[in-house]
Symmetry: C2
Subunit: 329 residues, 2 copies
């Protein structure tokens, strides 16, 4: 029997709350504490787990096996992960692609020198979708990859709309173009522009008296975020926003079409897809399976920075190797 | 730079030919020899690789890094894999579920004592589908799994029909029931009987003068193979069989629907699916990616019997860890 793995949550937003709820589904995991940069007395957890100041985390060395870092990729994690990897085994969901090599190097150095195991960029994309791409590319050497996202809420795009003058609240859904998806699934290997792959659907609460035409124009012309997409803008009331757009669903597809055979005449389509009612809760569930693997890898003396590419799949499961071979192989 | 990995093929049927063709798509792999239990002089390979008698394999110790065993699970592999694991690193696609623990134990002992690495039950089911089940179960602790197969040719069921008196040739397609699949995809977690999940579609060439009504009845009432399914039987000519049913397509879906959240109110559907023009060529492609991993694990001193559950995903890819993080994470 393995010992219970003691989990800490560092940062208590949507993802942190997802981790807190997810721990209850895993009998071999135990939540020790939540750490916040806000006033701990002002934070009430969903399940009553104690809250401490982020600055006091150091006092929990030896009491927490894996610290799950629930900060943002833009400004939190680049500092937070290397710093915390000196104190604990850690997991983050760093998703700024261009900065992964740099982040990896800093975390690797910090974790390795402290004999800790650090897992970065865990979740579903990066994470499970990356794994799907890796398995598919390894099996089908000759082929073409596609990733579609949605239908789901993009928090970055929602925030971008909220920054427009006269906008009180906004929710943006990324939606894959059905015809493009079907063409890829049929193995047609189409060349697709950004516009042909996804549309963007916006739901906006305007402030009273705001110029809706201007808001719509500003959204649709916003570079990087919306200009390259077919975008629809719908104005709704605050009540409608609360009623119809309170959840954070997401999902998507990774598809690879490749070929084999004497004349490359045999076509194969591989697909991995997710349809998620709650993006943060699902991401949290991935992080918890990874926490199990990180604790096990650390106990075997595997130190430094890792990604999900480095985890033997069996390490993610609470089942023993024998049970896995019997039940899931 | 890693050295080229030298591959041997042991058993030259559909799967062996798939491995032979697949090697050409992997610049880091090289095919050294094919071994057959038939007269080697009577076997002509597709790409001109030399053929030797199975009994002479021992002479290739030191010349082959991974031997891919392309025998059948029923009678070949239970003897073949432990025997060959004493001589080489090996991979098989053993798929008799009930006998996996016993097979694993015998192969483990043989491989470990010879400092070899042996991978059993590789392919897509068992194999990639098993991995999908493992990842999905590890992430969504509370949920329900479904596996659908097809539309695809089941060689076992085709053979069973061919054994009926008056049958000259036969092809059997396993077909998932669309309504059941859709219900699972919608996250409805239905309880499904064998009959509700798949239908069986048979294409039969009868011998001249054979009693077709009797053949159809014998097929439909055959226990285990057909009695529990809605089965359709179509009689066709030899020419139609050659024209329309020469290929070995297959595929299927692994789907898990699980829930998270305070009241388990958020539902998540994960799906992995395959649509394959050629079952043996795709299976061969999986075995080749595994051959790369087996060679790497062996060079690290990881000996004994393994399954795909034990392979760190990065080991399957020809790309370096840095390239993987950059391109696929």
């Amino acid at each position: 029997m393995e010992n219970t793995i003691r989990i800490g949550i560092y940062g208590y937003g949507n993802l942190g709350r997802g981790v807190e709820l997810g721990v209850r589904q895993n009998p071999d995991l135990k939540l020790t504490a939540v750490f916040t940069r806000r006033d701990p007395l002002a934070v009430k957890t969903l399940t009553g787990v104690p809250v401490y100041a982020a600055a006091d985390a150091e006092q929990f060395i030896g009491k927490i096996d894996v610290m799950i870092l629930c900060g943002g990729s833009a400004s939190d994690l680049p500092e937070m992960t290397p710093k915390m990897a000196k104190l604990f085994n850690v997991i983050d969901s760093f998703d700024t692609h261009a900065r992964i090599p740099e982040h990896f190097a800093r975390v690797d150095q910090a974790a390795f020198s402290a004999c800790h195991t650090a897992l970065i960029s865990a979740g579903w994309d990066p994470g499970l979708f990356s794994l799907a791409r890796l398995y598919m590319n390894s099996v089908l050497e000759e082929g073409k990859d596609y990733t579609f996202w949605g239908r789901g809420v993009s928090q970055g795009h929602s925030d971008a709309i909220r920054r427009i003058q006269g906008v009180k609240d906004a929710r943006q859904y990324t939606v894959p173009v059905a015809a493009a998806l079907e063409s890829v699934r049929r193995g047609e290997n189409p060349e697709l522009t950004t516009r042909q792959k996804h549309t963007r659907e916006c739901w906006v609460v305007a402030e009273e008296g705001a110029d809706k035409a201007r808001i719509e124009k500003e959204i649709k012309e916003m570079p990087n975020y919306f200009a390259d997409y077919d975008t629809t803008v719908n104005f709704i009331t605050e009540e409608e926003m609360k009623r119809d757009h309170a959840e954070l669903p997401h999902g998507g597809q990774v598809i690879r079409c490749g070929s084999t055979g004497a004349e490359n005449g045999h076509r194969h389509v591989m697909e991995f897809s997710l349809k998620l009612d709650s993006n943060p809760e699902f991401t949290a569930s991935v992080l918890l399976a990874c926490a199990r693997a990180v604790a096990r890898m650390n106990s075997r003396g595997i130190y430094g920075c890792k990604t999900m590419f480095d985890i033997p799949p069996a390490d993610l499961s609470p089942l023993s190797p024998e049970e896995l071979r019997k039940k899931l192989l």
